[in-house]
Symmetry: C2
Subunit: 247 residues, 2 copies
């Protein structure tokens, strides 16, 4: 079998997330349908991770196997023609047959976009904070405490199939992008389900003065799936990057 | 009477353009409805110009008169609360009673956004060029010829109420913004109806090799409202800036 990596991007607005759902459209389904159309057989597509409903990806990586060698440039062109306008394939490359899009990813980077003013554009990609301005300094101090922990059970959704809740955080900081836009960048070797949105939602509580930095730390230490704040809305979250050691 | 200038921005996607229409929603109507709600009387709003259906404004200026002095900060806040999320007011300022949002504007700047690749994001703000790449160098040479003329009848829609078709072009050039994005900036003291989209659509024909630069020049010289190419789609056009001599 030959294994191929697909590098793609998508606007998640219309989708019920990456993963195939019994009710509702998914990116994985769109990819599998497009591949089956021109390869003339069913092909299983495995993504580097799941993104929730409404979450976007500036880079997602997925692999599939095929018994005969493929012209990767042609696969890219055909996929782009067959896929809807909100899914675009950057490239398709052949990789070693045992390289796994999910298990061999060394890091994932997510970004969360916040606007502090009424901005008419890009509303489908940004979370607007209404009312009292957020204290981003306090939110950055709270974000720094993430580096002291590896068990993020508190920020994980119930009923997931993973064996451990351990993640190694590599980056976690808020940065001002313009007068009215702030971006949270978080990078880790892996993320639990819902984890980024739960962290952002809990950091919002810190930014609103409803939770202290010590309180944020206590939430992590509780390892309790009900301890975290409300998850931040999905439409402002982007999967930005995924790393592999390709050689 | 006291005269006020409203500086605003809007995403035109949902609207039938700036101007009040018998059928369909307009930015002008939304503004007048919001003002009437908290000023408790009908107020006429005059815009610096009309934008077509689907066209956006990063800056539009409009004036209104009111018999008693208003707290401009409060007017800004109230408008932002009452207006839908796709219309935002930057500021409201008091101006001299005879300063006219339309007639006293010294320039208008428009931008038109083109993408040459499949990009899943911001599709509602960008025109995607499919097929053969455009020759932007030729398009820039053609755009330069605009400076040699003032009568742009050829790029004007039929049945308009203006007395002259003369415009003084101050800027007109294509610039590459990223690997796959190009932006056309055009600035003039005034624009005729549909003029920017007709110019962009005709420049596309130059870029596709279907029209020479001399042919582009001949279209202008014909002063014929049927001579120009198809108008480019409105959703990729932004009114960017409007100038006044406020003192």
């Amino acid at each position: 079998m030959h294994r191929y990596f697909i590098y793609l991007a998508y606007d998640g607005t219309r989708y019920h997330g990456w993963q195939i759902q019994p009710n509702g459209i998914s990116i994985q389904q769109e990819l599998m349908t497009a591949l089956a159309t021109f390869l003339r057989r069913e092909v299983e597509v495995t993504g580097a991770g799941r993104t929730d409903a409404g979450v976007h990806a500036r880079l997602m990586v997925a692999h599939f196997d095929f018994p005969t060698p493929l012209d990767t440039g042609q696969v890219t062109d055909k996929l782009n023609r067959l896929l809807p306008p909100d899914i675009a394939v950057y490239k398709v490359i052949q990789v070693k047959p045992d390289l796994h899009a999910r298990f061999d990813a060394t890091y994932r980077t997510y970004r969360y976009y916040v606007t502090t003013a009424k901005v008419p554009f890009n509303r489908q990609y940004t979370c607007r904070i209404i009312g009292k301005p957020l204290d981003f300094e306090a939110m950055n101090k709270a974000a720094e405490t993430l580096f002291d922990y590896t068990d993020f059970t508190s920020f994980c959704k119930l009923h997931t199939d993973v064996k451990t809740n351990n993640c190694h955080i590599m980056q976690a900081h808020w940065q001002q992008q313009s007068e009215t836009t702030w971006v949270f960048t978080i990078q880790a070797d892996r993320f639990l389900r819902n984890m980024v949105r739960a962290i952002v939602g809990t950091l919002f509580e810190v930014g609103r003065g409803k939770l202290t930095i010590e309180g944020f730390r206590q939430i992590i230490e509780k390892k309790d799936r009900c301890a975290a704040g409300t998850s931040a809305p999905g439409h402002a979250l982007f999967l930005e990057d995924i790393g592999y050691e390709l050689e």
